[in-house]
């Protein structure tokens, strides 16, 4: 119970805390490298495709006239473009309220063959709620992109 022992214990605690902290940091860095979903626009996807099955996010404009509902009534196929490239997307589920042709969308999912299979669609919700990756596009730019995509 001497003072030296108490100091010793404090040191041990400090080392344990540091090891845990560094361990957590390394683990986080390693996991982020493997698990972070990168954001692609269609031209990136064409130029530098991610490996098949890896979770990524795809953002762009829903091409006009491209939304087709499959026979099961709940699967939609559409094309996302950014003016340079076009990617076919398949989504099974209830589309968000503001998912319309000519508007921006961010799809979470993966490439399967040449099709992007989306698990989730984030549409521009209102003026205040824009998917983060799309906030740089102004309404004018968006219109331009859509016009170019036609």
């Amino acid at each position: 119970m001497s003072a030296i022992k108490a100091k010793h214990q404090r040191l041990v605690l400090l080392v344990i805390a540091l090891v845990a902290l560094v361990g957590a940091g390394l683990l986080a860095a390693w996991a982020l490298k493997n698990q972070a979903a990168y954001f692609y626009v269609p031209s990136d996807l064409a130029a530098n495709p991610p490996e098949q099955g890896r979770a990524v996010r795809l953002g762009g404009m829903v091409e006009r006239g491209s939304i087709h509902k499959a026979a099961d009534g709940v699967t939609v196929n559409f094309i996302v473009g950014d003016g340079k490239a076009r990617v076919p997307v398949r989504f099974t589920g209830i589309t968000p309220d503001l998912f319309v042709e000519g508007s921006g969308v961010v799809a979470e999912g993966r490439m399967e063959g040449q099709t992007f299979v989306a698990d989730n669609l984030l549409a521009k919700h209102d003026e205040k709620y824009v998917p983060r990756e799309m906030k740089d596009m102004t309404a004018g730019q968006a219109k331009q992109v859509v016009a170019e995509t036609k």
Partner: protein
Amino acid sequence: MIAELGLAVLWMAAALAVLQLVAGILALRPEGRQVAGLVRPVAVMQGVLVAGALVALITLFLTTDLSVKLVAENSHSMKPFIFKLAGTWGNHEGSMLLWVAIMAVAGGFVALVEKRLPENTLIATLAGQAFVSLGFYAFLLLASNPFQRLPEPAPEGAGLNPLLQDIGLAFHPPTLYVGYVGLSIAFSFAVGALVTRDVGPAFARAMRPWVLGAWIFLTLGITAGSYWAYYTLGWGGWWFWDPVENASLMPWLAATALLHSCSVLASRNALKAWTVMLGVIAFSMSMVGTFLVRSGILTSVHAFAVDPERGSFILALLAIYIGGALTLFALRASTVTEGARFSFVSREAALVFNNVMLCGILGIVLVGTLYPLLTEAMGVKVSVGPPYFNPVSAVFAIPMMLVMGVGPLLRWRQDSFEGKGAGRITLPVGVCALLSAAVLLGVELLAPQIKLLPALGLAIAAGLAPASFLPLRGRNLRRTPLATWGMVFGHFGIAVALFGMASESAFSTERLAAMRPGDVQQVGPYAVKLEGIGPVAGPNWTALEGTVSASYAGAAPSILRPQARTFSNPPGNRTESALKTRWNGQLYAVLGEEGDDGRWQMRFWWKPFVPMIWYGGALIALGGLLALLGRVAADVRRLVATGKIAYRRERQGR
């Protein structure tokens, strides 16, 4: 008139905060003794004034005073009463006023009732509280004035975001804010104790009720927010690892760690510097959360304002407070004496383990939340979601929950799993561990399709639930302290919530279909039939409403009415899911849109035992409440007893 009054009162409160800070600093010097009496009343008055300012803003919202900019931008005369009230904090300025109000009221409350601390430490604490408040006053008055008038009154208000027009808005933000801001008290206590170099059991005992109180509100706020997101977003999920959710989880993790290290410091006079450090970290996490949410660098339904100037303002506040507190800590940590020693098998060691694991999870969540911001600064856009957060936080959460089953049974200072400890600890814990192993084996054999994490969750929950009651074994239940009951309920709540989470993840079934009226679908044990679709109208919305009859395993059907609502002020849509809760799970129904062929998209989930997640959260909060009541009652008894002794001494002396 009310707006000007509110603003004036707010300025006066800010001036009082300056006085509180200056008087506090002076009072800590020997020559400034005579102003020491000023600090407490000023703190109380400051709390009263800011509460007045909040009442003024609420009044403006309730009367829909459209000459006030904030009201015109965020309210509407036709809005239901409850949303006029809750709309007060459903925007950036109002929510910051709520923040400051809670902070000042909490500070005033401390000044009024806190009698256990040495007067000097309390004065330093109140000065610290005033210093923190001042930053937020500056932010409110200079960059986000809630009482600003319009040059011309608006003809009508712009209304409230439809997603926020929910009863959840009335409870979730205020509860969470009380929790966030309550932690500022812990922060100020830590700063006060560092300034007066007075870190000991008395400090921990004084701080503990405030931490407990803040923690209870955080727990309730997170639980309520999770349920709100679950039923309002229509995605069937209860936690999305959204940055804003993480912003509320991080202070909770730090506060949980603080709560446990506080009890070590209070009982055993150990972990001194560590507890002070956690006090600083907990409120820092609240501020980081506010920064993330309020700066607009994140976009979510929670981010009201996208204003880079405000972001920089909060970032500066963050740097000043966190940086300042950490500097003070670095300067003073070496003067905090070493705590009492303990062995590796002891209550203290288990609590240290709990703290380290909680901080590990905190670090994982923090890194995952900030990573997209960092990469975006370098031009790479990424998002981090469940594939990162779930397994990586489990690396720390699973060992923590295993130790949670043993820790409460260990004695302070030194204990052993052999000898006397064998019957008290090793045997009963072994039985619980066997239960866990049996469940894991059963899941792997009977349902190998269940993924590893949910399977482990089910197994741990099965062992932890009985293990959390072991501390009551061999005790006279009537004489068991309330705080012990609190611990038991809190830990049991963790097991219940874990069971709900694992069960939701392991056993949920989903059915997505396009249905005509009359069609029937099978969802888990339920047969659901779409009876029809019709229009309905509410006070400020119209909706298409589906009528769904759902029959559980052939029993008489019950009716669910999922809606797709359209709001007019401001225009917007929201799906209103319908829920049918049974003791063993929940049926969740969402109405989609109509196809060209007259079929309607319908989405159903059967989620076994999913309500356990929120029941668990409520149990955890209840545990906190019991512990708080127990601690406060014990403190009051002690105060009364010391009062009596002093009184007797005085009489005998005469």
